[in-house]
Subunit: 376 residues, 2 copies
């Protein structure tokens, strides 16, 4: 296994690429979807089940973990991998995104952000330096720069001001991260939906130099069209030989559109959150299992799916346990959703490798357009 962090593109089709990120904790096949394990658990899943879905890496949230159980405690307990029983790569966010959304509970200055814990009200400070320190204590394999991510829509001048501070914070993050062989630091491009600002941000990050480049600020409510509009040019501003990570995205069709535009990594709570609220994602679109039409349906959620929910249970059962508020409902639907998302990524990787991405994308949209399963 590699002792260093590296990225190799194996094939490309148009702007899309497929490759491998190598880390001392294992390889990450790209394009990669990263399940989110906010509080040191991918909700409703055991880590071996997360791996069984095909995930090579998962994401931890610095904000949640620093507050509970605390970064010092996790460090004493051997780091986040040991703590949560996941020995493969982990990417941690910087805490910036969560802390910025604590409207009214936080104070932002050039130095960083002071805020009150949602758990116990205690006062905390996050800055580029403290975020790097916390992510080091967690033992994260891929560390994210501390940045500010303004909610969109926003005034262009405000977006520019925010982006420029994030770029100063990116330099401070780089300086604070130092030299940690085997661990990677990713910069985060900001700039809203303004091409010139995105370009300025990318150039600032490239001047500093990172192991990978994230595209931030595109999962904050601006919609798919605006997101694709930015991606159409944004990936081109980033180095060819480094991974590109689109943060907080997304729905299956967002993922497909992002990969087509040259994105290598994504993360989203969607598959697990949907699983706990009775929403299943399938190749034929979304299924709301709480709908009464499933109550007597002996068919699986998706007859072509090989996950435990689809191979072992009827829609009628999934409907029953959801209606009965049984934990197995969230367990099975989360597993299914994560399995589907990973299967989608595997399909994208295979299509790119075979120069058949166009056909794959066409088939993806055709299956969804055909709609959910026929009525009984």
């Amino acid at each position: 296994m590699s002792k260093r962090f590296s990225f190799a593109v194996q094939a490309s089709d148009g702007l899309a690429r497929t490759g491998t990120i190598s880390t001392p904790r294992g390889e990450i096949r790209t394009p990669a979807f990263m399940p989110v394990g906010t509080a040191a658990t991918v909700k409703a899943m055991l880590p071996e089940s997360v791996h069984a879905t095909g995930a090579d890496i998962l994401l931890g949230n610095t904000y949640h973990l620093m507050l509970r159980p605390g970064a010092d405690r996790i460090e004493r307990l051997g780091g986040l991998h040991e703590f949560m029983n996941w020995d493969r790569p982990i990417l941690t966010d910087s805490g910036g995104f969560q802390v910025m959304s604590l409207a009214g509970l936080r104070k932002l200055t050039e130095e960083g952000v002071t805020f009150s814990s949602h758990v116990d009200g205690s006062k905390h400070m996050l800055s580029p330096e403290t975020s790097m320190e916390i992510q080091r204590k967690l033992g994260s394999d891929i560390v994210m720069c501390f940045d500010e991510c303004p909610a969109l829509p926003a005034d262009e001048q405000a977006v520019a001001t925010s982006m420029r501070m994030s770029m100063r914070w990116a330099q401070r993050s780089r300086d604070a991260f130092g030299d940690r062989p085997g661990h990677a630091l990713f910069g985060i491009m900001q700039g809203g939906v303004t091409r010139e600002l995105r370009q300025e941000s990318a150039e600032a990050l490239r001047a500093i130099g990172f192991d990978g480049y994230a595209i931030g600020g595109l999962a904050v409510g601006e919609g798919q069209q605006a997101m694709f509009g930015v991606l159409d040019y944004a990936t081109g501003y980033l180095p060819q030989d480094k991974p590109r990570y689109l943060m907080g995205v997304g729905k299956p069709d967002d993922i497909v559109g992002a990969v087509v535009r040259g994105v290598d990594m994504m993360d989203c709570v969607l598959p697990s959150r949907s699983g706990r609220t009775g929403q299943a994602w399938t190749r034929r679109g979304q299924v709301n299992i709480k709908n009464a039409r499933h109550a007597d349906d002996p068919r699986p959620l998706d007859a072509e799916c090989g996950c435990p929910a689809c191979t072992g249970y009827s829609r009628a059962y999934l409907h029953h346990v959801f209606r009965s508020s049984e934990m197995i409902s969230g367990m099975l639907l989360t597993w299914h959703n994560l399995h589907y998302f990973q299967e989608l990524m595997a399909g994208l990787r295979g299509a790119i490798a075979n120069q058949q991405l166009g056909e794959f994308v066409e088939s993806f949209h055709a299956q969804r357009a055909a709609g959910d399963i026929e009525p009984l």
Copy 2:
């Protein structure tokens, strides 16, 4: 695999026996502990995980299943085994115990019990005949007679009157059950804590003739001493060549005491319910994982335990996820508890087979007396 229901005792030590119940769906090693899958799921567990703990059989609740999703629906969907993805033996209770506890919401006559659903308020009727019909629709392997189970303490005359009606209901259950090769019907002894009533009940049941005999009415608040007091004589009133099932029991020391007194089968929600409320059962006693003393403890719940919770996680992690209300908390602790209960049963079976039950019981109590793990 056997096409008929049968029971063979392989060894005994004192009053305790170990043997095998054979059914068309598989063998049940006795003494057996049956996890409870009330609403077609052992809460927080996938069925393959329930089997991995060592369970040969699980219990379903007629009352809950008849109300949601409904017995007709389960029958249409292929029966309870197919519905819940468990192809091994299932025992169903008669619904009597749950329906009797609906104080104020039910009306009891010689015919049966009318009651209102806790799910939607709809009116329902349970009688020996309807209970047999519902359990047949569910496809249960071991069917329980419909009986009345009065809460203790109760007036002896009231207990006698209730027991005698339950014996008339036992005859009606037997008649309604008919001849169903491969499926078993168990009678249920009642009579409270009065020896003469227990004897009268046993004789009534033996005169009717059943595939197995349950001891009812001992998990309703009378305490361990009274329960053991009844078991001291009650098992002796039952046939040697049929399984004896103590209903709704219990804590690990209840189980050990019952096995010593000749009980072959038990069931209880305790390990799964405890698991969801942060209570772990170990060979060294009970551990309350929400206690702050576990917050920094890198040691497993029980270093000698081979379950996923003990081999993969620290007490600190289990404490963190319980405090954070994460589903993995209930998943891991339930698994641990069921694993421990099944390991206890395996230990009891081995000790009986080797004529070492006395030593086993002594060691069981000594380990518990030593108390939970040392402070760090």
